[in-house]
């Protein structure tokens, strides 16, 4: 049913650490692997060995160059998948009820057997989180691995989304963002987690942790005072150095 639930019991989602993501695409392919084999239709690939390969992915890693007003440009890797918005516009536009937000945990899903493949939900999503599968003709999106996170056939430690389990740098965190005491909520509070496109009014559940300030050692004036004493010369040439050495060795 495309009416959004008035509230959900939990707000399960991801916290993505832009300070740590090295842009390796591990999450992208792990997601592709799990979701090709599991929930719904496989994520297909068209012309996979040809001139114009193009397939369905539920998670993609962008990269951006940011030029501060002073200092070197920075590069930020930027994974992006469904943000499981509280006010998910992709759900309300769906004419068939295939798109819905789960009342238990807030996960936004597509019930593929009801999907007519009109694409309107993808039009309504500002984040590019939904991709129509060209082979199956239905809309695919991140399921937050709903078939993993409660799966009793998996060891408890593995009941996380596959992108989180595989992330080598631990830049992805999964949890209940509706619970202020959860690890993810604390992380968001501590690191100043942000929403993407807040002005779109979607109230995304997923949060992004901004990169920590970079190139602090290049701030010459500040660092000079702090660090200069560490390089106070003990001698100016090798002879002086050797006599310093002799004196110092005496003390060891």
């Amino acid at each position: 049913m495309t009416q959004l639930p008035t509230s959900t019991e939990k707000k399960l989602g991801l916290v993505i650490d832009l300070d740590t993501c090295v842009g390796c695409h591990a999450c992208v392919i792990s997601c592709k692997g799990w979701n090709t084999e599991n929930y719904g239709a496989p994520l297909s690939d068209q012309d996979p060995y040809g001139a114009d390969p193009s397939g369905t992915f539920l998670n993609r890693v962008h990269s951006y160059e940011v030029q501060p007003s002073q200092g070197d440009a920075q590069l930020i890797h930027f994974p992006k998948s469904c943000l499981h918005c509280d006010d998910a516009p992709c759900v309300t536009v769906c004419p068939t009820g295939a798109s819905y937000k789960r009342v238990e945990d807030g996960i936004v899903l597509v019930n593929e057997s009801d999907c007519i493949g009109c694409g309107l939900c993808a039009w309504a999503c500002p984040y590019g989180a939904r991709e129509m599968d060209a082979a199956a003709g239905v809309m695919k999106k991140c399921t937050l691995c709903v078939d993993r996170i409660y799966n009793e056939n998996l060891p408890e430690v593995d009941r996380t989304p596959s992108c989180v389990r595989t992330c080598p740098a631990n830049a992805r965190h999964f949890g209940d963002l509706g619970d202020p005491n959860s690890d993810v909520s604390k992380l968001v509070a501590e690191r100043g987690g942000i929403d993407l496109m807040p002005e779109q009014g979607t109230k995304p559940v997923n949060k992004y942790l901004p990169p920590r300030p970079k190139d602090q050692l290049a701030r010459q004036d500040e660092q000079l005072d702090i660090l200069a004493p560490f390089l106070e010369p003990v001698a100016t040439e090798s002879k002086g150095f050797l006599s310093w050495l002799d004196k110092t060795l005496e003390k060891i």
Binding site: M1, T6, D17, D19, C21, V22, C24, H25, A26, V28, I29, K32, G33, E37, N38, A41, P42, S44, Q46, P48, Y49, G50, A51, P53, S63, Q67, Q74, L75, H77, R102, A135, A136, D147, Y150, N151, E152, N153, V157, S162, T166, P168, A169, N170, K214, D215, Q216, L217, A218, L227, A228, F230, L231, E232, V234, A235, S238, F241, L242, L245, L249
Partner: protein
């Protein structure tokens, strides 16, 4: 209206069986869980691959390549059967044959060679993870011409580490991720140890520790570094020596550490007239001499209670012998290493160099800590705690692949040692079987006897001119000229010179080139078009200049078309392998470990693991190591070898579950017929933790040394001092100065004297012929691709299907370029025409692109119009294996003069805007190859379960 939603099965079946083996999507060797599911026909198929949580390397995580393994396993580019060439070389005309016929052909070529001149076989393996096996085969054959790909990869780093401190990075050691507070990374886009480094970065970020990235390009790990130093390529050594200058001048060095654990206090012969001038003073037993600060007397360094004196000198018969540290002070306090003197050359301001050096000093000394852990050193001295210096470093090919790379790597190791951060908490830690000094490694062997094995292992560590691989007449014994005066310390051989030398008949002609997993007609060679030409050239008699080529690969790579006989290998999920302590192990700083691969699925094609094929072929050739006394085949296949081979009594390829008196045991032990099953039951690997108290200060820690002997890593405890002063290099200098029987040719004397400095130096790489070529061009390996393998992978090629040339903003403006424009990039050797993209976070005089995305049309079962072939490109066309001719008639290799490492990253180019080429295809565009396996399907919907 109430909210309605469908009922979901939240606990669907994940798989029918999980089979645990080792990844081979790159060289990292993570543990993987291969989920097998029954397809609708009831056959078990590979359904999903994830990381193995118990595995020491990756602890559950897995990179993009690893998760995409399923697409490598089902790639349409897989070879199907042995093939013999029926058209001209390069035509791609093959006929599928039986394995028997393939063996017969190979034996008919190789047997006569072995009986007359075994060196006529050149056997080189590329991304081989079974080098202890393949080298045994080559040794048993009797050819001196064997090596793997280290020579064009990272031998500078490996050899510099071994000669300096008994190990380098990656397989040799790792930062102490749990304690380090400052991690300084040189180069390294995504080279080696890829998942462990990502995991380490994640760990230290979580703790709030910091990262400094030194790299001309700010991507990947350098993008998350807290501070980025966009250094000018090839000047890392100068930058490091300048920081050493600052640290020494400020006395911010660990004098206690230097005195106790390094050769800083070892006396150097100061007698200029002596043939041993510059060598270390030793006692009769060969032990280095130091002066004991307590007694003022000279003594072997390792005596109980000795306090080696860094300052004292020894005066004998009017000659003053000074310790290594005196020479270092003299050398590095020189103003030529002052930040102001190097800033412009390095592209880093003097102030920045000082700040970075000061930060290293601050963290190493102000944030030092004590670990409450007692230990006893090799002198018998007991220590109540372990001192931590939480600064750690990592580097791989970025600083290695220059013609000054060996000395640069030595400089980096010297920096770590001066700060006292090696093998201490918070610093850099070795992984067993390292630490292992150069003296504990074999020396190279090259004595050829027809119909008999070589006199010993091919590769090793030379300790002076006597160990060079020279024939009696002084000419190179090896086809790649490894261990010669041109590159004396070439510990990994020079694979990149084999085809060029064989083609030139320099030092001699060969008959058969036998290669495994090395894409030499494409991305694994410098000068790709030239090498292709060499492979197809014929002599006056109409015969190929390189008469025969046997090649083994699992996939339809570019190299397949240039071979005469193809031995099709399996995919990594269909084979046995061992990741052995005898080879390139997967140990952790806290544990010894090894692993296996096993066929989690049987091949559905007529293919065989290459190593198993070698067991067969070895027996057919009657190689002693592969034949029983009665002449029968010794090892049925590779698995048989893995279990039953013993290198030394009680020491085999696998260290886990060896048979002891009371059942299976770790380390030493006899053959255990069910060893592979034991591994499979344990998840495909073996791990044994180093006891607490043994796991730091390993080279000098008596408890560790005893444990290592017990495990079979060494046969006796062998503590040693780190070699800030590389004595073997001094021996080559002595030869160049005229000492000794073996003398270098005159044209190399000056170079040897200069480049073989026993203390790290920096020199600019050979710039002759580079006039007008002022921009450095580099490649980086993307994290989601490995070598040329990724493009056959339907998932990975969508991420990186083509590669632009990234050009810094300033150069874009200067050349009038905009994103998507085409530029011609020229070097003294060649030209390419490629699309460009702007990048700001880049050294302003460096351009770069992703490595090995470009593909030859028709290879890898891709469409001939695949973007890899039309838009992608290789930088290799611009790089020659030789330097531009100097007019002396000699062939000067584009390699490090110490180790012969290929100097990929010394490339200098010019760049100008041009019109898009015809069809907007990258140039040069080589004609398509004929695919021996056809092309892949037009759609993929890979789902095994229903």
């Amino acid at each position: 209206m109430t909210h309605k939603q469908p009922v979901l099965d939240l606990s669907p079946k994940v798989s029918d069986e999980i089979r645990k083996t080792t990844c081979y999507m790159c060289a990292c060797r993570c543990g993987i869980n291969v989920h097998m599911k029954k397809d609708p026909l009831g056959d078990l198929k590979v359904a999903y691959i994830e990381g193995n949580r118990d595995h020491p390397v990756n602890k559950g995580v897995l990179c993009a390549k690893g998760s995409a393994g399923i697409m490598q396993h089902n790639a349409p580019s897989r070879l199907r059967a042995p093939m013999k060439r029926v058209g001209e070389r390069g035509s791609g005309e093959f006929e599928e044959i039986s394995w028997d016929e393939a063996y017969d052909i190979a034996a008919s070529w190789l047997k006569p060679i072995r009986e007359t001149a075994p060196e006529k076989l050149a056997f080189f393996t590329g991304r081989d993870q079974s080098q202890s096996f393949t080298s045994l085969w080559a040794q048993s054959f009797g050819t001196p011409n064997y090596a793997a790909h280290g020579g064009f990869c990272s031998v500078n780093m490996a050899a510099a580490g071994i000669y300096t401190m008994g190990g380098a990075f990656w397989e040799f050691g790792q930062p102490d991720w749990d304690h380090t507070k400052l991690f300084m990374l040189f180069g390294v886009a995504e080279d080696h140890d890829s998942n462990p480094i990502k995991m380490g970065i994640g760990k230290i970020k979580k703790r709030g520790a910091r990262i400094i990235g030194v790299n001309p390009i700010r991507t990947g790990y350098n993008a998350v570094a807290d501070d980025w130093v966009g250094i000018t390529p090839g000047t890392d050594g100068l930058f490091i020596l300048s920081m050493i200058h600052c640290l020494m001048k400020a006395g911010k060095i660990d004098l206690h550490y230097l005195a106790q654990y390094t050769d800083a206090a070892v006396l150097i012969n100061g007698d200029e007239k002596s043939p041993e001038y510059g060598l270390k003073l030793r006692d009769e037993g060969g032990k280095e001499l130091v002066i004991d600060r307590k007694t003022g007397k000279q003594t072997p360094y390792d005596q109980k209670g000795v306090k080696p004196d860094l300052a004292a000198t020894l005066r004998v018969a009017g000659v003053t012998h000074r310790p290594v540290f005196h020479q270092m002070a003299e050398m590095y306090l020189d103003e030529k290493y002052a930040p102001e003197a190097v800033a412009e050359r390095c592209g880093i301001s003097a102030q920045r160099i000082r700040t970075l050096a000061a930060e290293l000093a601050r963290v190493a000394f102000e944030e030092a800590f004590e670990l409450e852990q007692e230990w006893t050193d090799f002198r018998g001295e007991h220590h109540k705690t372990m001192t931590g210096r939480p600064v750690s470093f990592h580097a791989m090919r970025g600083i290695s692949a220059h013609a000054n790379g060996f000395q640069t790597c030595r400089a980096l190791h010297t920096l770590q040692i001066l700060l006292g951060t090696v093998e201490v908490p918070g610093g850099f830690r070795f992984k067993p079987p390292y630490p292992k000094p150069a003296t504990a490694h074999p020396k190279p062997h090259c004595k050829v006897t027809p119909n008999a094995p070589l006199d010993g292992p091919h590769l090793g560590f030379v300790h002076g001119p006597d160990d060079l691989a020279l024939k009696d007449d002084g000419t190179p014994a090896r086809i790649d000229k490894a261990f010669t005066w041109e590159n004396p310390m070439s510990a990994h051989g020079l694979m990149h010179m084999v085809i060029s030398n064989a083609h030139a008949g320099d030092p001699y002609k060969i008959d058969t080139l036998f290669m495994y997993m090395a894409n030499m007609s494409w991305n694994s060679s410098m000068n790709t078009s030239g090498v292709t030409q060499m492979l197809t050239d014929k002599d006056e008699s109409g015969e190929y200049v390189i008469p025969r080529i046997i090649y083994s690969d699992a996939y339809s790579s570019e190299m397949v078309a240039y071979a005469d006989l193809i031995l099709p290998d399996t995919t990594y999920l269909e084979r046995h392998d061992c990741i052995s302590l005898l080879d390139r192990p997967i140990c952790e700083a806290d544990a010894v470990a090894d692993a296996i691969r096993w066929p989690v699925v049987e091949p559905d094609r007529n293919v065989k693991g290459f190593q198993s094929a070698l067991c067969d072929l070895g027996a057919r050739l009657g190689l002693p190591a592969f034949t029983n006394d009665d002449g029968s085949q010794k090892y049925a296949d590779y698995a048989d070898y893995i279990v039953n081979h013993e290198r030394r009594p009680g020491v085999g390829p696998l260290a886990g579950w060896r048979m002891g008196d009371h059942g299976p045991q770790a380390g030493r032990g006899g053959v255990n017929e069910s060893q592979i099953d034991n591994y499979i039951e344990n998840g495909g690997f073996f791990v044994e933790h180093i006891p607490d108290g043994s796991n730091y200060y390993k080279p000098w820690n008596a408890a560790y040394q005893d444990w290592a002997v017990k495990m079979g890593l060494y046969d006796s405890p062998q503590p040693y001092l780190f070699s800030l002063y590389a004595e073997p290099m001094r021996k080559f200098q002595l030869a160049a100065e005229g000492h000794g029987k073996r003398q270098p040719p005159d044209h190399l004397r000056a170079r040897i004297k200069h480049t073989m400095s026993p203390l790290p130096i920096w020199y600019d790489t050979d710039q002759q012929g580079n006039e007008g070529f002022t921009v450095t061009a580099l490649t980086q390996r993307p994290m989601a691709m490995y070598h040329s393998w990724g493009s056959q992978n339907a998932w990975l090629r969508q991420l990186h299907g083509r590669n632009p040339m990234y050009v810094p903003t300033k150069l874009m403006r200067a050349r009038g370029l905009a994103d998507g424009d085409w530029a011609q990039i020229t070097s003294p050797h060649g030209a390419i025409t490629v699309p460009v993209m702007e990048m700001a976070a880049l050294n302003e005089n460096t351009i770069w692109t992703w490595n090995a995305i470009g593909k030859r049309k028709g290879a890898w079962a891709l469409d001939k119009d695949a973007p890899e072939a039309t838009k992608g490109f290789l930088l290799n066309h611009l790089i020659h294996e030789l330097m531009p001719p100097k007019g002396d008639g000699l062939r000067w290799a584009n390699s490090d003069p110490v180790t012969g490492q290929a100097a990929w990253f010394d490339l200098k180019v010019a760049i100008k805007k041009v019109n898009p080429p015809p069809d907007a295809e990258s140039q040069p565009s080589m004609p398509p190859l004929k695919s021996p396996v056809g092309q892949g399907p037009s759609e993929l919907k890979w789902k095994v379960g229903k």
